[in-house]
Amino acid sequence: MLTMGKTIAEKIISRHCGREVEAGELVITRVDFAIAQDGTAPLAIQRFQEMGKEKIFAPDKVAFFIDHSAPPPSKDIASLQKLMRDFAREKGINFYDIGSGVCHVVTVEEGWVSPGDLVVGADSHTCTYGALNAFATGVGSTDLAAVMASGCIWLRVPESIKVYLKGKLSHGVYAKDVILYLAGKITSRGATYKSIEFEGEVIENLSMESRFTISNMAMEMGAKTGIMKVDKKTANWIKGRVKKEIKPVNPDPDAVYSKVFEFDISHLSPQIARPHTVDNVCPVEEVEGIPIQQAFLGTCTNGRLEDLRIAASILSKRKVHPEVRFIIAPASRRIYLEALREGIISCLVDAGAAIVTPGCGCCVGTHNGIPADGENVISTANRNFKGRMGNPDAFIYLASPATVAASAVEGKITDPRRYLK
Protein backbone atom coordinates (compact mmCIF):
# COMPACT_ATOMS: atom_id res chain seq x y z
CA MET A 1 0.00 0.00 0.00
CA LEU A 2 1.22 3.47 -0.81
CA THR A 3 1.68 5.63 2.23
CA MET A 4 1.80 9.39 2.11
CA GLY A 5 4.54 11.45 3.68
CA LYS A 6 3.91 12.85 7.12
CA THR A 7 3.88 16.31 8.64
CA ILE A 8 5.69 17.12 11.90
CA ALA A 9 2.38 16.93 13.81
CA GLU A 10 1.51 13.51 12.34
CA LYS A 11 4.98 12.19 13.17
CA ILE A 12 5.04 13.44 16.75
CA ILE A 13 1.53 12.16 17.50
CA SER A 14 2.32 8.79 15.85
CA ARG A 15 5.38 8.50 18.05
CA HIS A 16 3.26 9.15 21.16
CA CYS A 17 0.15 7.09 20.50
CA GLY A 18 1.91 3.89 19.51
CA ARG A 19 0.75 3.61 15.90
CA GLU A 20 1.11 5.41 12.60
CA VAL A 21 -1.66 8.00 12.33
CA GLU A 22 -2.61 10.70 9.87
CA ALA A 23 -4.66 13.88 9.87
CA GLY A 24 -8.31 13.43 10.79
CA GLU A 25 -7.86 10.44 13.12
CA LEU A 26 -8.93 10.62 16.73
CA VAL A 27 -6.38 9.22 19.18
CA ILE A 28 -5.68 8.80 22.86
CA THR A 29 -2.08 9.80 23.18
CA ARG A 30 0.62 9.87 25.83
CA VAL A 31 1.93 13.31 26.83
CA ASP A 32 5.49 14.18 27.89
CA PHE A 33 4.68 17.20 30.01
CA ALA A 34 1.63 19.13 31.21
CA ILE A 35 1.23 22.56 32.76
CA ALA A 36 -1.51 24.69 34.29
CA GLN A 37 -1.70 28.23 35.68
CA ASP A 38 -3.69 29.90 38.44
CA GLY A 39 -6.61 30.66 36.10
CA THR A 40 -7.03 27.00 35.13
CA ALA A 41 -5.34 24.78 37.77
CA PRO A 42 -7.92 25.25 40.57
CA LEU A 43 -10.69 23.90 38.31
CA ALA A 44 -8.39 21.09 37.12
CA ILE A 45 -7.78 20.12 40.76
CA GLN A 46 -11.52 20.11 41.44
CA ARG A 47 -12.16 17.96 38.34
CA PHE A 48 -9.32 15.56 39.28
CA GLN A 49 -10.91 15.08 42.69
CA GLU A 50 -14.38 14.62 41.16
CA MET A 51 -12.93 11.84 39.00
CA GLY A 52 -12.19 10.06 42.25
CA LYS A 53 -8.45 10.00 41.58
CA GLU A 54 -5.69 10.14 44.19
CA LYS A 55 -2.39 9.68 42.37
CA ILE A 56 -0.85 11.83 39.65
CA PHE A 57 0.40 9.61 36.79
CA ALA A 58 3.90 11.14 37.04
CA PRO A 59 4.16 14.22 39.31
CA ASP A 60 7.55 15.18 37.80
CA LYS A 61 5.84 15.60 34.41
CA VAL A 62 3.37 18.20 35.67
CA ALA A 63 4.04 21.83 36.60
CA PHE A 64 1.79 24.48 38.14
CA PHE A 65 2.48 28.19 37.78
CA ILE A 66 1.09 31.17 39.62
CA ASP A 67 1.39 33.92 37.03
CA HIS A 68 -2.06 35.25 36.11
CA SER A 69 -2.58 37.07 39.42
CA ALA A 70 0.87 37.28 40.99
CA PRO A 71 0.94 38.32 43.78
CA PRO A 72 -2.77 37.75 44.50
CA PRO A 73 -4.83 40.99 44.42
CA SER A 74 -7.72 39.64 46.55
CA LYS A 75 -8.47 37.13 49.29
CA ASP A 76 -10.54 34.96 46.93
CA ILE A 77 -7.64 34.64 44.51
CA ALA A 78 -5.22 34.06 47.40
CA SER A 79 -7.40 31.14 48.52
CA LEU A 80 -7.41 29.54 45.06
CA GLN A 81 -3.63 29.91 44.91
CA LYS A 82 -3.32 28.25 48.33
CA LEU A 83 -5.40 25.37 46.97
CA MET A 84 -2.87 24.97 44.12
CA ARG A 85 0.12 25.29 46.45
CA ASP A 86 -1.23 22.68 48.88
CA PHE A 87 -2.20 20.27 46.10
CA ALA A 88 1.19 20.60 44.37
CA ARG A 89 3.03 19.98 47.65
CA GLU A 90 0.87 16.98 48.55
CA LYS A 91 1.17 15.37 45.11
CA GLY A 92 4.82 16.28 44.44
CA ILE A 93 4.03 18.37 41.35
CA ASN A 94 6.60 20.95 40.16
CA PHE A 95 5.44 24.28 41.51
CA TYR A 96 6.39 27.82 40.48
CA ASP A 97 5.09 30.43 42.87
CA ILE A 98 4.61 34.18 42.39
CA GLY A 99 7.69 35.90 41.01
CA SER A 100 8.85 32.89 38.97
CA GLY A 101 7.36 34.31 35.82
CA VAL A 102 5.00 33.56 32.95
CA CYS A 103 4.41 29.79 32.56
CA HIS A 104 5.34 29.58 28.86
CA VAL A 105 8.59 31.44 29.36
CA VAL A 106 9.61 29.53 32.49
CA THR A 107 8.66 26.08 31.12
CA VAL A 108 11.19 26.35 28.31
CA GLU A 109 13.82 28.09 30.46
CA GLU A 110 13.62 25.17 32.87
CA GLY A 111 14.24 22.67 30.07
CA TRP A 112 10.91 20.88 30.42
CA VAL A 113 10.37 20.81 26.65
CA SER A 114 12.50 18.97 24.06
CA PRO A 115 12.22 18.66 20.29
CA GLY A 116 9.73 15.96 19.32
CA ASP A 117 7.85 16.18 22.65
CA LEU A 118 4.08 16.24 23.00
CA VAL A 119 3.14 18.85 25.59
CA VAL A 120 -0.27 20.06 26.73
CA GLY A 121 -1.10 23.02 28.91
CA ALA A 122 -4.25 24.43 30.43
CA ASP A 123 -3.49 27.76 28.79
CA SER A 124 -4.13 28.67 25.18
CA HIS A 125 -0.61 29.94 24.51
CA THR A 126 1.00 26.56 25.21
CA CYS A 127 1.64 26.51 21.44
CA THR A 128 4.70 28.71 22.22
CA TYR A 129 6.86 25.57 22.64
CA GLY A 130 6.35 24.73 18.97
CA ALA A 131 9.42 26.90 18.37
CA LEU A 132 11.37 24.06 20.01
CA ASN A 133 9.94 21.50 17.53
CA ALA A 134 7.43 20.19 20.09
CA PHE A 135 3.78 19.45 19.41
CA ALA A 136 2.44 21.72 22.14
CA THR A 137 -1.17 22.70 22.48
CA GLY A 138 -3.61 24.41 24.82
CA VAL A 139 -6.33 22.37 26.50
CA GLY A 140 -8.96 22.84 29.19
CA SER A 141 -8.99 22.18 32.91
CA THR A 142 -10.91 18.89 32.62
CA ASP A 143 -8.44 17.77 29.96
CA LEU A 144 -5.65 18.55 32.39
CA ALA A 145 -7.38 16.60 35.16
CA ALA A 146 -7.59 13.59 32.82
CA VAL A 147 -3.90 13.98 31.97
CA MET A 148 -2.96 14.17 35.66
CA ALA A 149 -4.98 11.00 36.24
CA SER A 150 -3.89 8.98 33.21
CA GLY A 151 -0.91 10.59 31.46
CA CYS A 152 -2.99 10.63 28.27
CA ILE A 153 -5.33 12.93 26.35
CA TRP A 154 -7.79 12.64 23.44
CA LEU A 155 -6.69 14.51 20.32
CA ARG A 156 -7.73 14.78 16.74
CA VAL A 157 -4.63 14.57 14.55
CA PRO A 158 -4.66 17.97 12.85
CA GLU A 159 -4.20 18.82 9.22
CA SER A 160 -1.18 21.05 8.69
CA ILE A 161 -0.65 24.39 7.02
CA LYS A 162 2.80 25.36 5.78
CA VAL A 163 3.84 28.99 6.11
CA TYR A 164 7.03 29.88 4.20
CA LEU A 165 8.56 33.22 5.09
CA LYS A 166 10.98 34.63 2.52
CA GLY A 167 13.05 37.76 2.50
CA LYS A 168 14.90 39.81 5.07
CA LEU A 169 13.38 41.86 7.85
CA SER A 170 14.12 45.53 7.39
CA HIS A 171 15.52 47.71 10.14
CA GLY A 172 13.09 48.26 13.02
CA VAL A 173 10.88 45.33 12.02
CA TYR A 174 10.73 42.31 14.31
CA ALA A 175 9.21 38.85 14.80
CA LYS A 176 6.14 40.47 16.38
CA ASP A 177 5.53 42.51 13.24
CA VAL A 178 5.81 39.33 11.16
CA ILE A 179 3.29 37.39 13.24
CA LEU A 180 0.85 40.33 13.40
CA TYR A 181 1.11 40.59 9.62
CA LEU A 182 0.37 36.85 9.33
CA ALA A 183 -2.60 37.14 11.70
CA GLY A 184 -3.96 39.90 9.46
CA LYS A 185 -3.48 37.81 6.30
CA ILE A 186 -4.54 34.38 7.59
CA THR A 187 -7.22 35.84 9.96
CA SER A 188 -8.23 34.78 13.44
CA ARG A 189 -9.89 31.61 12.19
CA GLY A 190 -7.80 30.87 9.10
CA ALA A 191 -5.92 28.04 10.81
CA THR A 192 -8.61 26.67 13.17
CA TYR A 193 -7.82 23.10 14.33
CA LYS A 194 -4.65 23.12 12.17
CA SER A 195 -0.98 22.70 12.95
CA ILE A 196 1.09 25.44 11.34
CA GLU A 197 4.63 24.61 10.24
CA PHE A 198 6.69 27.81 10.01
CA GLU A 199 9.64 27.64 7.65
CA GLY A 200 11.96 29.75 5.53
CA GLU A 201 14.88 32.11 5.75
CA VAL A 202 13.04 34.59 7.97
CA ILE A 203 12.59 31.93 10.66
CA GLU A 204 16.19 30.71 10.21
CA ASN A 205 17.48 34.23 10.80
CA LEU A 206 15.43 34.82 13.95
CA SER A 207 16.82 34.30 17.44
CA MET A 208 15.26 31.55 19.55
CA GLU A 209 13.49 34.21 21.64
CA SER A 210 11.93 35.74 18.52
CA ARG A 211 10.86 32.31 17.31
CA PHE A 212 8.89 31.86 20.54
CA THR A 213 7.06 35.12 19.69
CA ILE A 214 5.98 33.62 16.36
CA SER A 215 4.86 30.22 17.70
CA ASN A 216 3.09 31.93 20.63
CA MET A 217 0.67 33.69 18.32
CA ALA A 218 -0.19 30.68 16.12
CA MET A 219 -3.13 30.44 18.54
CA GLU A 220 -4.42 33.83 17.36
CA MET A 221 -5.10 32.30 13.95
CA GLY A 222 -7.00 29.44 15.60
CA ALA A 223 -4.14 26.94 15.24
CA LYS A 224 -3.61 23.95 17.46
CA THR A 225 0.13 24.53 17.43
CA GLY A 226 2.84 26.37 15.48
CA ILE A 227 5.88 24.16 14.92
CA MET A 228 9.39 24.87 13.66
CA LYS A 229 12.24 22.61 12.62
CA VAL A 230 15.37 22.16 14.74
CA ASP A 231 18.56 23.94 13.67
CA LYS A 232 21.83 25.03 15.31
CA LYS A 233 20.08 27.85 17.20
CA THR A 234 17.56 25.43 18.68
CA ALA A 235 20.35 23.02 19.65
CA ASN A 236 22.38 25.82 21.27
CA TRP A 237 19.38 27.11 23.15
CA ILE A 238 18.46 23.76 24.70
CA LYS A 239 22.08 22.91 25.52
CA GLY A 240 22.44 23.00 29.30
CA ARG A 241 18.68 23.23 29.74
CA VAL A 242 17.36 19.92 28.43
CA LYS A 243 18.94 16.86 29.96
CA LYS A 244 17.54 14.09 27.76
CA GLU A 245 18.77 13.07 24.34
CA ILE A 246 16.95 15.07 21.68
CA LYS A 247 15.11 13.58 18.72
CA PRO A 248 14.23 16.32 16.23
CA VAL A 249 11.30 15.70 13.92
CA ASN A 250 11.28 16.87 10.30
CA PRO A 251 8.36 16.70 7.88
CA ASP A 252 8.63 14.25 4.97
CA PRO A 253 9.26 15.93 1.59
CA ASP A 254 5.94 14.51 0.34
CA ALA A 255 3.96 15.43 3.48
CA VAL A 256 0.42 16.60 2.76
CA TYR A 257 -0.64 20.16 3.67
CA SER A 258 -4.17 21.50 3.56
CA LYS A 259 -2.77 24.89 2.56
CA VAL A 260 0.60 26.40 1.75
CA PHE A 261 1.22 30.11 2.22
CA GLU A 262 4.28 31.98 1.05
CA PHE A 263 5.00 35.52 2.14
CA ASP A 264 7.88 37.79 1.24
CA ILE A 265 8.28 40.11 4.19
CA SER A 266 11.25 42.14 2.90
CA HIS A 267 9.32 45.39 2.67
CA LEU A 268 7.20 44.94 5.78
CA SER A 269 6.65 47.99 8.01
CA PRO A 270 6.13 47.71 11.77
CA GLN A 271 2.61 46.30 12.19
CA ILE A 272 -0.23 47.20 14.56
CA ALA A 273 -3.33 45.18 15.51
CA ARG A 274 -6.14 47.66 16.15
CA PRO A 275 -9.00 47.18 18.61
CA HIS A 276 -10.77 44.79 19.15
CA THR A 277 -9.41 41.81 17.20
CA VAL A 278 -5.90 40.49 16.63
CA ASP A 279 -6.42 40.21 12.87
CA ASN A 280 -7.42 43.88 12.50
CA VAL A 281 -3.86 44.64 11.38
CA CYS A 282 -2.34 47.58 9.53
CA PRO A 283 1.11 49.11 8.98
CA VAL A 284 2.12 51.59 11.69
CA GLU A 285 1.93 54.46 9.16
CA GLU A 286 -1.87 54.18 9.13
CA VAL A 287 -2.32 54.73 12.87
CA GLU A 288 0.66 56.94 13.74
CA GLY A 289 -0.29 59.84 15.97
CA ILE A 290 -3.17 58.17 17.84
CA PRO A 291 -2.68 59.29 21.46
CA ILE A 292 -2.01 56.59 24.09
CA GLN A 293 -2.33 56.80 27.86
CA GLN A 294 -0.74 53.46 28.75
CA ALA A 295 2.02 51.33 27.26
CA PHE A 296 2.71 47.77 28.34
CA LEU A 297 5.81 45.64 27.70
CA GLY A 298 5.78 42.01 28.81
CA THR A 299 3.84 38.71 28.40
CA CYS A 300 4.58 35.27 26.95
CA THR A 301 4.74 36.96 23.54
CA ASN A 302 7.25 39.72 24.21
CA GLY A 303 8.61 39.93 27.76
CA ARG A 304 11.97 38.33 27.03
CA LEU A 305 15.45 39.76 27.45
CA GLU A 306 15.87 40.88 23.85
CA ASP A 307 12.52 42.71 24.13
CA LEU A 308 13.65 44.56 27.27
CA ARG A 309 16.96 45.38 25.56
CA ILE A 310 15.17 46.97 22.61
CA ALA A 311 13.00 49.06 24.95
CA ALA A 312 16.08 50.17 26.92
CA SER A 313 17.91 51.15 23.74
CA ILE A 314 14.99 53.43 22.82
CA LEU A 315 14.48 54.85 26.32
CA SER A 316 18.16 55.41 27.05
CA LYS A 317 18.67 59.16 27.69
CA ARG A 318 14.96 59.72 27.05
CA LYS A 319 11.86 59.94 29.24
CA VAL A 320 8.46 58.32 29.14
CA HIS A 321 5.91 60.92 28.01
CA PRO A 322 4.39 62.68 31.05
CA GLU A 323 0.87 61.62 30.08
CA VAL A 324 1.77 57.92 29.65
CA ARG A 325 2.04 55.12 32.21
CA PHE A 326 4.67 52.70 30.91
CA ILE A 327 4.26 49.32 32.67
CA ILE A 328 6.89 46.63 32.23
CA ALA A 329 6.69 43.00 33.40
CA PRO A 330 9.88 41.01 32.72
CA ALA A 331 8.54 37.58 31.71
CA SER A 332 10.56 35.57 34.25
CA ARG A 333 12.78 35.90 37.30
CA ARG A 334 15.79 34.85 35.22
CA ILE A 335 15.06 37.52 32.63
CA TYR A 336 14.50 40.09 35.42
CA LEU A 337 17.86 39.23 37.02
CA GLU A 338 19.75 39.36 33.75
CA ALA A 339 18.09 42.68 32.90
CA LEU A 340 19.22 43.98 36.31
CA ARG A 341 22.79 42.84 35.67
CA GLU A 342 22.86 44.48 32.24
CA GLY A 343 21.56 47.78 33.63
CA ILE A 344 18.39 47.52 31.53
CA ILE A 345 16.06 47.83 34.50
CA SER A 346 17.76 50.94 35.89
CA CYS A 347 17.63 52.52 32.45
CA LEU A 348 13.89 51.80 32.13
CA VAL A 349 13.05 52.90 35.67
CA ASP A 350 15.13 56.03 35.25
CA ALA A 351 13.15 56.83 32.10
CA GLY A 352 9.93 56.66 34.11
CA ALA A 353 8.70 53.10 33.55
CA ALA A 354 6.99 51.12 36.34
CA ILE A 355 8.30 47.56 36.74
CA VAL A 356 5.86 44.95 38.05
CA THR A 357 6.31 41.34 39.19
CA PRO A 358 6.92 38.85 36.37
CA GLY A 359 3.47 37.56 35.37
CA CYS A 360 0.43 37.94 33.14
CA GLY A 361 -1.76 40.36 35.16
CA CYS A 362 -1.68 43.45 32.97
CA CYS A 363 -2.32 41.50 29.73
CA VAL A 364 -5.19 39.45 31.09
CA GLY A 365 -6.90 42.15 33.13
CA THR A 366 -6.56 40.70 36.61
CA HIS A 367 -4.44 43.55 38.04
CA ASN A 368 -1.18 45.47 37.47
CA GLY A 369 -2.48 48.06 35.02
CA ILE A 370 -6.18 48.13 34.20
CA PRO A 371 -6.86 51.05 31.85
CA ALA A 372 -9.55 53.68 32.52
CA ASP A 373 -12.69 54.19 30.41
CA GLY A 374 -11.96 55.51 26.94
CA GLU A 375 -8.20 55.11 27.23
CA ASN A 376 -5.90 53.80 24.51
CA VAL A 377 -3.23 51.25 25.37
CA ILE A 378 -0.34 50.06 23.24
CA SER A 379 0.86 46.62 24.31
CA THR A 380 3.28 43.85 23.34
CA ALA A 381 0.68 41.21 24.28
CA ASN A 382 -1.04 38.76 21.96
CA ARG A 383 -4.70 39.76 22.45
CA ASN A 384 -6.64 42.99 22.19
CA PHE A 385 -10.21 41.78 22.71
CA LYS A 386 -12.69 44.22 24.21
CA GLY A 387 -12.29 43.97 27.98
CA ARG A 388 -9.10 41.94 27.72
CA MET A 389 -7.08 44.20 30.03
CA GLY A 390 -9.92 44.49 32.51
CA ASN A 391 -11.94 47.35 31.03
CA PRO A 392 -14.38 46.86 28.12
CA ASP A 393 -14.34 50.61 27.51
CA ALA A 394 -10.61 50.76 26.77
CA PHE A 395 -8.90 50.31 23.38
CA ILE A 396 -5.90 48.02 22.93
CA TYR A 397 -3.35 48.26 20.11
CA LEU A 398 -0.83 45.41 19.75
CA ALA A 399 2.70 46.06 18.55
CA SER A 400 6.37 45.11 18.84
CA PRO A 401 8.46 46.11 21.88
CA ALA A 402 10.18 48.78 19.75
CA THR A 403 6.89 50.34 18.67
CA VAL A 404 5.56 50.22 22.23
CA ALA A 405 8.70 51.87 23.66
CA ALA A 406 8.79 54.59 20.99
CA SER A 407 5.08 55.26 21.54
CA ALA A 408 5.64 55.51 25.31
CA VAL A 409 8.19 58.26 24.65
CA GLU A 410 5.97 60.26 22.31
CA GLY A 411 2.61 59.67 23.98
CA LYS A 412 1.12 58.55 20.69
CA ILE A 413 1.48 55.60 18.34
CA THR A 414 4.92 56.04 16.83
CA ASP A 415 6.95 54.41 14.08
CA PRO A 416 10.00 53.12 16.00
CA ARG A 417 12.35 53.23 13.03
CA ARG A 418 13.46 56.79 13.64
CA TYR A 419 14.46 55.85 17.20
CA LEU A 420 16.72 53.01 16.11
CA LYS A 421 20.17 53.72 14.81
Binding site: C17, G18, R19, L26, V27, I28, T29, D38, G39, T40, P42, L43, Q46, R47, E50, M51, G52, K53, H68, S69, S74, D76, I77, L80, G121, A122, D123, S124, T126, G138, V139, G140, S141, T142, D143, A145, A146, A149, S150, C152, W154, R156, S188, R189, T192, Y193, G222, K224, T277, V364, G365, T366, R383, F385, K386, G387, R388, G390, P392
Partner: protein, 170 residues
Protein backbone atom coordinates in the same frame (compact mmCIF):
# COMPACT_ATOMS: atom_id res chain seq x y z
CA UNK B 1 -28.61 12.08 24.45
CA UNK B 2 -30.58 9.38 22.67
CA UNK B 3 -34.21 10.38 22.24
CA UNK B 4 -33.56 13.70 23.93
CA UNK B 5 -35.35 16.59 22.25
CA UNK B 6 -34.36 20.14 23.08
CA UNK B 7 -36.67 23.08 22.50
CA UNK B 8 -36.03 26.77 23.03
CA UNK B 9 -35.65 30.29 21.74
CA UNK B 10 -32.65 31.61 19.80
CA UNK B 11 -30.17 34.24 21.00
CA UNK B 12 -28.21 35.12 17.86
CA UNK B 13 -24.52 36.11 17.94
CA UNK B 14 -21.99 36.92 15.21
CA UNK B 15 -18.62 35.46 14.27
CA UNK B 16 -15.52 35.20 16.46
CA UNK B 17 -17.26 35.35 19.85
CA UNK B 18 -14.28 34.96 22.17
CA UNK B 19 -14.05 33.55 25.68
CA UNK B 20 -13.39 37.02 27.14
CA UNK B 21 -16.84 38.02 25.86
CA UNK B 22 -18.46 34.88 27.26
CA UNK B 23 -16.97 35.43 30.71
CA UNK B 24 -14.47 38.20 31.31
CA UNK B 25 -11.06 37.48 32.80
CA UNK B 26 -11.98 40.03 35.48
CA UNK B 27 -14.26 37.44 37.06
CA UNK B 28 -13.02 34.03 36.08
CA UNK B 29 -9.80 34.15 38.07
CA UNK B 30 -11.63 35.05 41.25
CA UNK B 31 -13.73 32.04 42.01
CA UNK B 32 -14.78 28.51 41.19
CA UNK B 33 -18.33 29.45 42.19
CA UNK B 34 -20.28 29.20 38.95
CA UNK B 35 -23.50 30.52 40.48
CA UNK B 36 -21.64 33.79 40.95
CA UNK B 37 -19.81 33.75 37.58
CA UNK B 38 -22.95 32.98 35.58
CA UNK B 39 -24.49 36.38 36.33
CA UNK B 40 -21.69 38.01 34.30
CA UNK B 41 -22.24 35.91 31.16
CA UNK B 42 -21.73 38.01 27.99
CA UNK B 43 -21.73 41.11 30.21
CA UNK B 44 -19.16 43.10 28.19
CA UNK B 45 -21.00 42.81 24.87
CA UNK B 46 -24.63 42.35 26.01
CA UNK B 47 -25.14 43.84 29.48
CA UNK B 48 -28.02 42.13 31.28
CA UNK B 49 -27.91 39.05 29.03
CA UNK B 50 -28.27 36.69 32.00
CA UNK B 51 -31.70 38.12 32.82
CA UNK B 52 -32.94 37.50 29.28
CA UNK B 53 -32.29 33.74 29.34
CA UNK B 54 -35.14 31.26 29.69
CA UNK B 55 -33.86 27.77 30.59
CA UNK B 56 -33.47 25.71 27.42
CA UNK B 57 -32.71 28.69 25.14
CA UNK B 58 -30.05 28.31 22.46
CA UNK B 59 -27.01 30.38 21.62
CA UNK B 60 -26.62 30.51 17.85
CA UNK B 61 -23.44 31.97 16.39
CA UNK B 62 -21.38 32.16 13.21
CA UNK B 63 -17.79 31.05 12.71
CA UNK B 64 -15.14 30.42 15.36
CA UNK B 65 -17.33 30.54 18.47
CA UNK B 66 -15.27 30.43 21.70
CA UNK B 67 -11.95 31.65 20.32
CA UNK B 68 -9.35 33.02 22.72
CA UNK B 69 -8.30 31.68 26.07
CA UNK B 70 -8.48 28.10 27.30
CA UNK B 71 -10.81 29.01 30.17
CA UNK B 72 -13.22 26.18 30.78
CA UNK B 73 -15.37 28.63 32.69
CA UNK B 74 -16.63 29.73 29.24
CA UNK B 75 -18.62 26.56 28.40
CA UNK B 76 -19.36 26.04 32.09
CA UNK B 77 -21.11 29.41 32.55
CA UNK B 78 -23.14 28.73 29.41
CA UNK B 79 -24.15 25.35 30.83
CA UNK B 80 -24.94 26.90 34.23
CA UNK B 81 -27.01 29.61 32.55
CA UNK B 82 -29.21 26.67 31.48
CA UNK B 83 -28.60 27.21 27.78
CA UNK B 84 -29.77 24.04 26.02
CA UNK B 85 -27.07 23.97 23.36
CA UNK B 86 -24.69 26.19 21.41
CA UNK B 87 -25.04 26.08 17.63
CA UNK B 88 -22.37 27.53 15.36
CA UNK B 89 -20.95 27.20 11.88
CA UNK B 90 -17.61 26.39 13.53
CA UNK B 91 -16.06 26.36 17.00
CA UNK B 92 -12.60 27.38 18.16
CA UNK B 93 -10.72 24.26 19.08
CA UNK B 94 -10.18 24.62 22.84
CA UNK B 95 -13.79 25.71 23.37
CA UNK B 96 -14.89 22.66 21.34
CA UNK B 97 -12.81 20.37 23.61
CA UNK B 98 -14.01 22.08 26.76
CA UNK B 99 -17.67 21.87 25.75
CA UNK B 100 -17.37 18.13 25.10
CA UNK B 101 -15.39 17.59 28.30
CA UNK B 102 -17.93 19.50 30.41
CA UNK B 103 -21.03 18.03 28.75
CA UNK B 104 -22.33 21.19 27.08
CA UNK B 105 -24.14 20.18 23.86
CA UNK B 106 -22.54 21.88 20.85
CA UNK B 107 -23.85 21.60 17.33
CA UNK B 108 -22.12 22.45 14.06
CA UNK B 109 -24.68 23.50 11.45
CA UNK B 110 -25.64 26.17 8.88
CA UNK B 111 -26.55 28.79 11.46
CA UNK B 112 -26.93 31.59 8.88
CA UNK B 113 -30.43 30.21 8.28
CA UNK B 114 -31.40 30.81 11.92
CA UNK B 115 -32.67 34.20 13.12
CA UNK B 116 -32.84 35.98 16.46
CA UNK B 117 -35.98 34.88 18.33
CA UNK B 118 -36.59 31.72 16.25
CA UNK B 119 -37.90 28.70 18.14
CA UNK B 120 -35.84 25.57 17.53
CA UNK B 121 -36.55 21.93 18.16
CA UNK B 122 -33.41 19.80 18.19
CA UNK B 123 -33.32 16.02 18.15
CA UNK B 124 -29.73 15.19 19.09
CA UNK B 125 -30.23 11.45 18.57
CA UNK B 126 -31.46 11.87 15.00
CA UNK B 127 -29.25 14.86 14.29
CA UNK B 128 -32.13 17.09 13.21
CA UNK B 129 -32.90 20.76 13.81
CA UNK B 130 -36.30 22.24 13.07
CA UNK B 131 -36.99 25.97 12.97
CA UNK B 132 -40.56 25.67 14.27
CA UNK B 133 -41.85 29.10 13.42
CA UNK B 134 -40.64 28.94 9.82
CA UNK B 135 -40.87 25.22 9.00
CA UNK B 136 -37.21 24.87 8.03
CA UNK B 137 -35.10 21.76 8.79
CA UNK B 138 -31.30 21.70 9.13
CA UNK B 139 -28.90 18.79 9.36
CA UNK B 140 -26.22 18.39 12.01
CA UNK B 141 -22.61 17.35 11.52
CA UNK B 142 -22.21 14.08 13.47
CA UNK B 143 -19.57 13.47 16.17
CA UNK B 144 -16.96 10.69 16.05
CA UNK B 145 -18.24 7.66 18.04
CA UNK B 146 -15.54 8.09 20.72
CA UNK B 147 -16.48 11.74 21.24
CA UNK B 148 -20.15 10.84 21.38
CA UNK B 149 -19.31 8.46 24.22
CA UNK B 150 -17.85 11.35 26.26
CA UNK B 151 -20.83 13.57 25.45
CA UNK B 152 -23.32 10.83 26.31
CA UNK B 153 -21.58 10.32 29.66
CA UNK B 154 -22.20 14.01 30.43
CA UNK B 155 -18.56 15.02 30.13
CA UNK B 156 -15.09 13.65 30.79
CA UNK B 157 -15.39 13.53 34.59
CA UNK B 158 -18.52 11.36 34.38
CA UNK B 159 -16.87 9.33 31.64
CA UNK B 160 -13.80 8.66 33.83
CA UNK B 161 -16.06 7.75 36.74
CA UNK B 162 -18.02 5.37 34.54
CA UNK B 163 -15.10 3.66 32.81
CA UNK B 164 -12.30 4.25 35.36
CA UNK B 165 -10.16 5.83 32.63
CA UNK B 166 -9.99 5.74 28.83
CA UNK B 167 -12.37 3.14 27.46
CA UNK B 168 -11.08 3.09 23.90
CA UNK B 169 -7.55 2.05 23.07
CA UNK B 170 -5.35 4.09 20.75
Amino acid sequence: MKGKILRGKVHKFGDDINTDYIISGRYKFKTLNLDELVRHIFEDIHPGFYNRITPGDFIVAGENFGCGSSREQAPLVIKYAKIGAVLARSFARIFYRNAINTGLPIIITQTDKIKQGDILQIDLGKGEIKIENRGISLSVEPFAPEILKIIESGGLVEYFKKYGGWSFSP
